[in-house]
Symmetry: C2
Subunit: 141 residues, 2 copies
């Protein structure tokens, strides 16, 4: 039984991504968070007052999908919305949100450390540059 896909970078990228994402979600489950929740909490924590649209653009989540997303975090008492002008919502963490964000950050750091440690040490310095290139790189032909 041969797998014609496991030498293809794009296929490996997807399999590695889904596998490691499952690990992260498992870690975050103790906080009743998903990875998407955690990334938004970290983003807001680093940028209090960021608007819903700006956060969506950075995380590549569409405006329409941000609505129930933010509403859920607000209902959980983690995120607060404040009107900036007539149409924009400024987002910030509640004190409970701050606490949960810090604990999420700890779990994420542990996850990132374990993930990087899967790579043989001599190749580790290339991991982030390569992933950045695969994401939006131009290469050099």
């Amino acid at each position: 039984m041969q797998d014609p896909l496991t030498s293809l970078p794009g296929y490996l990228l997807r399999r590695a991504s889904t596998a490691s994402l499952a690990e992260l979600n498992q870690k975050l489950a103790v906080l009743t968070l998903r990875h998407s929740d955690a990334s938004l909490l970290l983003l807001i924590g680093s940028n209090p007052g960021i608007t819903q649209s700006e956060a969506g653009r950075i995380l590549d989540i569409q405006r329409a999908n941000m609505v129930p997303f933010i509403a859920r975090l607000e209902a959980q008492g983690l995120v607060r919305r404040q009107q900036v002008d007539g149409r924009s919502q400024g987002l910030s963490l509640t004190s409970m949100g701050e606490d949960v964000m810090l604990r999420a950050r700890g779990l994420i750091e542990e996850y990132e450390r374990q993930l990087l440690n899967k790579v043989p040490s001599d190749m580790r310095p290339f991991v982030v540059p390569i992933l950045l290139s695969l994401w939006n790189g131009a290469g050099d032909a």
Copy 2:
């Protein structure tokens, strides 16, 4: 506006994966295929007679989710099911499935080439080894 996530391997892995997957799906749209359809066609093409369960194990798709998946490809006239024993279904490509698979393979090869070319040439040899490690590697502490 700062993004606290773009230095994290796990986050970059996810973003790179979803971005490149969108590109692949766009290419495959001319064949009315999704990336998951294409990967299954390639797997069956390389392993005629493979059972539904075996294919699911290799592609990490659960048995329950294979059912509507295969049914759809069968309804499109691309895949044929043949009883191997009382419970197993052997999968193979119809002649139309063979044709579509070959064209999908061409698109995938083009996609994989373009993806790899995003990485600066001096780092390219590390791409597959690193992705394999991130997927299921053990590292060396």
